[in-house]
């Protein structure tokens, strides 16, 4: 008897949860579906849901008309480049803070965090002018540097919380067994640090890929990543919904997959370890 009630309850909650989940996901699903329609079908009323002539022409045309791949490459260079550079600087810093903490380590960490709180718009003017003076408007170099600095506090923090979990005793044990510093790093520390570094890499690529303040304000066409390229569809003459959908689908698909893989790290990275 009790069992029947729980199954019923489970069924009820399952139906509610799936309804809510599908509703929230609907805009994404709708974008994907529309990307396979013709322009005429995309704006048709009543809308067609699954039974339309599926076509790939939008994907072909987005590439031919606006060189989609170039903007995608810009996105890749900016997000991966800024994250890798950030890791290069952050790994030693987080490492030393986690393994040889001093009285000031906590203050430094908090200060780094506080730089993240600076609203971008507060420094729009100087950054824009500096780029102009250096001839770096609409260039990838400027964006890689800016996004790297923007995400550096998050990278240091995430790495710090991961490194903190590596037990220091293991290092001592390796040292007692006569391991040199080089061996210690290669055989003992790296295997334990790699998962943390990988999650940090993933989350920060996602954040940089979707960044839409500096990418919109500092690029025009040459260095425009996907965020800025998609924004160009906002002009009234750019109302091609099927093409917009195709471009959007390509822009969000890789990051959606990466995001799904990194959901756990997301919480940790974005709350600076305050919620685990």
């Amino acid at each position: 008897m009790a069992r029947a009630v729980t199954t019923q309850r489970k069924l009820a909650f399952t139906i509610i949860a799936w309804t809510v989940g599908l509703t929230l996901f609907f805009p994404v699903l709708w974008t994907i579906l529309t990307s396979f329609k013709t322009e005429g079908e995309a704006i048709a009323t009543p809308p067609t849901f699954f039974f339309f002539d599926w076509t790939l022409e939008n994907y072909v045309e987005v590439q031919e008309r606006s060189n989609y791949l170039r903007h995608a490459m810009n996105s890749v260079v900016i997000s991966v480049g800024s994250t890798l550079l950030g890791l290069l600087v952050a790994i030693p810093a987080a490492w030393s803070m986690a393994f040889s903490p001093t009285k000031r380590t906590k203050d430094i960490l908090m200060w780094m965090l506080s730089t993240k709180m600076l609203p971008a718009v507060g420094v729009l003017m100087p950054i824009y002018l500096m780029c102009q003076w250096l001839g770096l408007l609409d260039s990838l170099v400027a964006l890689v540097a800016i996004l790297m600095l923007m995400n550096l506090p998050i990278i240091v923090w995430m790495l710090y919380t991961y490194f903190k979990e590596i037990p220091g005793d293991i290092l001592e044990a390796a040292r007692m067994d006569g391991a040199s510093l080089g061996k210690e790093i290669i055989y003992v520390l790296t295997p334990m640090a790699v998962p943390g570094i990988a999650s940090t890499l993933l989350l920060n690529i996602i954040l940089a890929w979707n960044e839409a303040f500096w990418t919109l304000n500092l690029t025009a066409s040459k260095a425009a990543p996907l965020t800025a390229f998609i924004a160009s569809y906002s002009s009234p003459e750019g109302l091609f919904w099927a093409k917009l959908s195709a471009a959007s689908t390509l822009a969000i698909a890789p990051i959606l997959v990466m995001g799904w893989f990194s959901q756990k790290q997301l919480v940790r990275g974005l709350t600076f370890g305050a919620v685990k």
Partner: protein, 290 residues
Amino acid sequence: MATKQTQVTAKIMMSPAVLMLLAWMIVPLGMTLYFSFLRYNLLMPGMEEFTGFGNYEFFLTDPAFLEALGNTLLLVGGVLLATVIGGTFLAILIDQPIWGRGIVRLLVIAPFFVMPTVSALVWKNMLMHPVNGLFAWITRGLGAEPVDWLADLPLFSITVIVAWGWLPFATLIILTALQSLDSEQKEAAEMDGAGPISIFWFITLPHLSRALTVVTLIETIFLLSVFAEIYVTTGGGPGTASTNLPFLIYIQALLQYDAGTASAGGVVAIILANIVAIFLIRMIGKNLET
């Protein structure tokens, strides 16, 4: 315990990150402060002169400022309300024993990974368009007159779009906190005859208070800087109906080339964000000690 040598090594390892962030903070901040006291228009180079608090006076007495400030607070408040309440319900829903929980979770968190320009344009065109949008089709189906969302309710529409993107964030964090709740406590309360509402009110909610605070503070920091969603949908309009503080500063800076006023506005935005940041940093700092 640490020897002198390791301390020196630690300092060297830390210095690139510290120096870079220091430069990233001080140089632009100093320049913003400096510009904010200058009459400085990018179209008239070489005409800069000191104006004291002139730019601040101009920016703060502009009627658009008060409206932008109001819009900023409404946007932040609206999105917070929707995501914190919605996120709590969603998290509790997903935490129930259901079939396909993993998939539901994936569906719910997906919006967070959609870049702001994509989500804004998809909502603006395919959902909220007054003629061909899906909402218009539904309203007509219900026999009502379609709403021109972004023209008639611009700030509300932008709030909806932004809230859609941030709901997963709130849900995910609340869910993480929820899963660390001791189930024995709940069972004990159930045995004592507590109903689901009193369990939620007296056990679940207090347990979530920390996560809810973190969600509120972090979202506030990000929501104070909403930009792309406004940029591609309404452009701040009609009039200034959906202009928030970042967008107002952007207009001063890159559309009117008034570097002085834009910088004064930037300083105002920084002060506003810092009020929130102080609370957040204190909370995270406390957590670091334990």
